[in-house]
Amino acid sequence: MRPQHRILVVDDDVSTRSLLRATLEGYDLAEAADAEEALAVIEEFVPDVVVLDWRLPGRWGGEIIAQLRRDSPARVLVLTAEEGAHTQLLAESLGADAFLRKPFSPIELVREIERLLA
């Protein structure tokens, strides 16, 4: 049994959140559908890892990473359907700790999260 690390999933797509919920069963999980909700949940939930969609209604992932880096020790895994190299470079330059592109393998996602938690 995994230790109860706290994972926050931020994605505006209901089906993607549902997939992530199924993939990350066993972790202490919270969800947010947009940036404002995410920032509010982060304050209360204090996640160890944030799995962050790059495109969100009203804001882009980079803004959230920048704010997280100021306010939270959480590790950030960017999960995106965007073109790979440029977005990855930008996300990492802003402070993302890991980057996965959609479609992703659930095993790969869990492996990356475990690496961030180690």
Binding site: D12, D13, V14, S15, T16, S18, L19, A22, T23, A33, D34, R55, P57, G58, R59, W60, G62, E63, A81, E82, E83, R101, K102, P103, F104, S105, P106, I107
Partner: protein
């Protein structure tokens, strides 16, 4: 057609639902005996497949529109029957959203001047967009009213809404405002289809409360 922002937008439209299909397929391979997982996977894969189909249709329609390959034949179209037909078709495929229809007057024998293929396609685009941006199967309302000699067919969602900057570019081919992105080609497609029928596409939105997009078409007296 090779505009990088357009390609990035398109890539997002295809990869996001594809991730749901492949992700659930992997999970089923790993532990498919769980009945709840199988049921959720079937629902999510079905919904993602519909989204992929919609994205493909949007792409092909936009390519056709951009090459002036879409033609329209304007003729009197029974307003009530046309609207109800589109709503019934979308309700059947995207059943998780509650879609209500309100005719603000009888419109029993009213007709709009429109193309019998492209008007339903445009209205369907608005409904698909509204369902997509109404999270958790949220309410979508279709209102049909009269404005002078025109019919106004409005579709309202219960989603996150848009601010003025986003709304200003929502009908563009690559709808981005600064760093804020809204994905999808639906609204661009709908605007072009409506304009081909000499109509207007209007939008109103309040952040946090949802958006309303309206097709305005002339009524046939």
């Amino acid at each position: 057609m090779t505009d990088p922002a357009f390609v990035a937008n398109l890539e997002h439209e295809l990869r996001a639902p594809l991730a749901v299909v492949t992700g659930y397929a992997d999970l089923l391979r790993l532990g498919g005996e769980d009945a709840a997982l199988r049921e959720e996977a079937a629902r999510a894969i079905g919904e993602a497949a519909v989204r992929l189909g919609e994205a493909l249709d949007d792409l092909l329609t936009v390519f056709a529109l951009d090459s002036d390959a879409v033609t329209v034949t304007l003729e009197p179209l029974d307003l009530r029957a046309a609207v109800e037909g589109v709503v019934a078709a979308v309700r059947g495929r995207l059943a998780s959203n509650e879609i209500t229809t309100s005719f603000h007057e009888d419109f029993a024998s009213a007709a709009v001047l429109a193309d019998p293929d492209q008007f339903p396609r445009a209205l369907r685009g608005l409904l698909v967009n509204a369902c997509r941006y109404s999270p958790g199967g949220g309410a979508v309302a279709v209102d049909i009213s009269r404005r002078g000699e025109s019919a106004v067919i409005s579709v309202s969602d219960s989603g996150a809404g848009m601010d003025a900057d986003e709304l200003a570019v929502a009908f563009e081919r690559v709808p981005y405002a600064g760093a804020v992105h809204r994905t999808g080609l639906e609204l661009y497609k709908v605007r072009r289809l409506v304009e081909l029928q000499h109509g207007l596409l209007e939008g109103a939105s309040t952040p946090g409360r949802g958006s309303t997009f309206s097709i305005v078409l002339p009524l046939v007296s």
